[in-house]
Amino acid sequence: MPGRLRTDGNMLDALVSQTANGLVLGFVYVLIAVGLSITFGLLGVINFAHGAFFALGAYVAWQLYQLFGWWAVILAPPIVGVVGMLIEATIIRRLYGKEPLLSLIVTFALALLIEALIRYGWGADGKPFNPPPFLSGIVEIGPLLITKYRVAVLGITIATLLALWAFLVWTPYGRVLRAGSRDPEMVELLGINLPRVLTAVFGLGCALAAIAGVLAAPLWTVSPSMAANAVMPAFVVVAIGGLGSLRGAVVAGLAVGVVTSLTIQFWPEAAAASMYVLMFAIMLIRPRGLFGERWERFE
């Protein structure tokens, strides 16, 4: 039985350690997926270029780190957010209310363009990027092994998600966003400048992609095509969780992380397929995803 656990190591240890690892990995997926989910939920645009903004975040962080040191990397997400807003105002805006297929094609082209620009500007080679010295090292508790850097990623992800949730639920701005996503005409009738709000939303989605890119940079190779490996799980997470649902993205992200980890441990031959099987099963039972609601605009 090639690939299975061959040592006498405790099965339970392996189970506990892989589950914990899967949960941490799941939070990274959640962070990548949540920006995608918000852009769709509030703008109705499936942003295929989400991964390109993820890569752009990593590259901007690398550049800032080279120029100013570690603390400057926190500027990367706002910078990418502004780039996103400019792109919304010039290109994405024209896609609202059109066929979803059109937004897929345009954002796919945008993804290729951004990747090519990164390659043009920073070169085709990857950039070495490791966790900062104060976060390197591992923590071992019984069978659990987790790196300090992943603990930090976990903390930042949870803080970001909480802040986002509080913003959408408790601030007047968040209320405008949620209302605008359901009934744009009514919101405009109330005297709110909706186009400006939508620009900000797209920027927010891009900034979230960039946060994920910055956090992933020390884990995954920083290269122009780095997004490809990371974004596929994000699409799966969004599909499982339900497009536009924050809660769905969290539950689905953690599920995908844990399922992937456990399959690698106990059934490695199925590792590549496991998350798609999970998606397939959930789509069969709930075609809109776990927490997907009925949206008048898309029915």
Binding site: P2, G3, L5, R6, T7, G9, D13, A14, S17, Q18, N21, G22, V24, L25, V28, L112, E115, A116, R119, G123, A124, D125, G126, K127, P128, F129, N130, P131, S136, G137, I138, L145, T147, Y149, R150, P218, L219, W220, T221, V222, S223, P224, S225, M226, A228, N229, A230, M232, P233, T260, S261, I264, Q265, P268, E269, A271, A272
Partner: protein
């Protein structure tokens, strides 16, 4: 429906324009090839995970052309570079090079799957194809072709060079290989060699291509407690693994040994995380490099302000072999070029190398390198340990006999 008309009209106009333009292009190309420049095709990745590799291969081929003053047979050389994104498109691009660009030969092909697809066009169109990567055995084995030549050593040859080092590192081996043809080739050839070297297999993971996170695999390896890992991951997959191996504190705990890596994989990862023992076709900072190779390195460094990777060498030697064979053939006739490639030999170093006429595999030792304990230079990551074989006779043995290779070489 009336609204469709302007669109349709503009579509027709565009099509007519394209047709007119390409007709001009074709007739120009047809005229040009008799007298004007000699066109040579390149097929290397321009985008996606293989882009960095493609760039170094292309720069190597380009340099070989520059070094002969951009001329062959007294006529200017024109290079046409198309992409190698996947087998289908690589095959179409090969066809385009032949039909539209009227190339007389093609250098390229880093991936075995694309290489096999391109070979079918080379065969049908009778166009010499020099593969500068693509390690799968069958390319010069059961699928060998009269018009295809390959510079890189096959997986079994590279593994034979690596395994003695692996057994020095320990007897309990864990395999972490790609779950496609290349990885399976590694598993097959290593398992056959394990017994000879007194080693045993304690685990194996075949990793799907484009895996971003290796933490679960690393946890498994930790539980299995092997003495050494034999790896078979490529490009971005390898870089991701290496980075996380270091991040999870495993770098100095269990040694890693692998084949078919390239310098850029390590430049992507950085000195902090790099570790292991590897088989590569060439290394720029090898004291045993020939004078001609040192000149190539100097020319490259002057032009790009960084040293050449082993992929540069592959692109360079492939193009050199082709240009030298065209000169020797005194003609652009493909049969004459193939005949000369079969006779081509490079005797600049201690061990001469050449394409074996009965399978078109370049017979040349690869280098075994180890990552330095302390990396102080931005580019220089390795100490050269030795060659995979030490003499001409050993090299010939390592590449296998006619019976072992099983190439049914067709007539020209």
């Amino acid at each position: 429906m009336t609204r469709m008309n302007p669109q349709r009209r503009s579509l027709i106009r565009t099509l007519a324009g394209v047709a007119a333009l390409s007709a001009v292009g074709w007739s120009a190309a047809a005229c040009a090839q008799a007298e004007g420049p000699i066109r040579i095709g390149l097929i290397y990745s321009k985008q996606g995970p293989g882009a960095a590799i493609g760039q170094y291969l292309q720069r190597g081929s380009e340099l070989a052309v520059e070094q002969v003053g951009r001329k062959v047979l007294g006529r200017p050389i024109e290079l046409v570079w198309l992409d190698e994104p996947n087998p289908q498109v690589s095959q179409q691009n090969m066809q385009r090079l032949v039909d539209e660009n009227k190339v007389i030969a093609v250098v390229g092909g880093n991936y075995s799957s694309s290489a096999l697809a391109m070979m079918s066009v080379a065969n049908r169109e009778k166009i010499p194809l020099i593969l500068t990567g693509a390690a799968a055995s069958e390319i010069t084995g059961k699928s060998c072709s009269r018009y295809t030549f390959r510079t890189q050593a096959t997986v079994p040859v590279q593994m034979k060079g690596l395994m003695p080092y692996v057994s020095q590192l320990g007897k309990k081996v864990y395999f972490l290989t790609a779950s496609y043809a290349f990885g399976q080739d590694i598993l097959r050839s290593s398992r056959a060699l394990l017994k000879e070297n007194g080693a045993t297999e304690v685990g194996v993971d075949e990793v799907p291509i484009n895996t971003a996170d290796y933490s679960s695999y690393i946890l498994k390896i930790r539980q299995a407690k092997p003495d050494v890992i034999v790896g078979g991951l490529v490009g971005g997959d390898f870089s991701n693994f290496m980075k996380q191996w270091n991040e999870m504190g495993m770098k100095d705990k269990i040694p890693y040994a692998a084949i078919a890596v390239t310098d850029t994989d390590f430049w992507d990862v950085g000195p902090q995380a790099s570790t292991g023992i590897y088989v590569k076709p060439w290394y720029y900072n090898n004291p045993k490099n020939t004078e001609v190779e040192k000149k190539m390195m100097a020319d490259f460094t002057k032009k790009y302000n960084e040293p050449p990777s082993d992929k540069t060498w592959s692109g360079w030697i492939g193009m050199r072999a082709l240009l030298e064979s065209i000169e020797a053939a005194k003609s652009t006739d493909s049969k004459a070029i193939v005949t000369q490639l079969e006779k081509w030999k490079n005797a600049e170093g201690e061990i001469p190398f050449f394409f074996r006429d009965w399978d078109h595999q370049m017979v040349r030792p690869a280098v075994i390198v180890g990552v330095k304990k302390q990396i102080t230079d931005k580019w220089d990551y390795f100490d050269v340990l030795k060659n995979t074989s030490a003499s001409e006779a050993d090299t010939a043995t390592a590449f296998g006999t006619k019976e072992e290779i099983g190439c049914p070489m067709p007539a020209l």
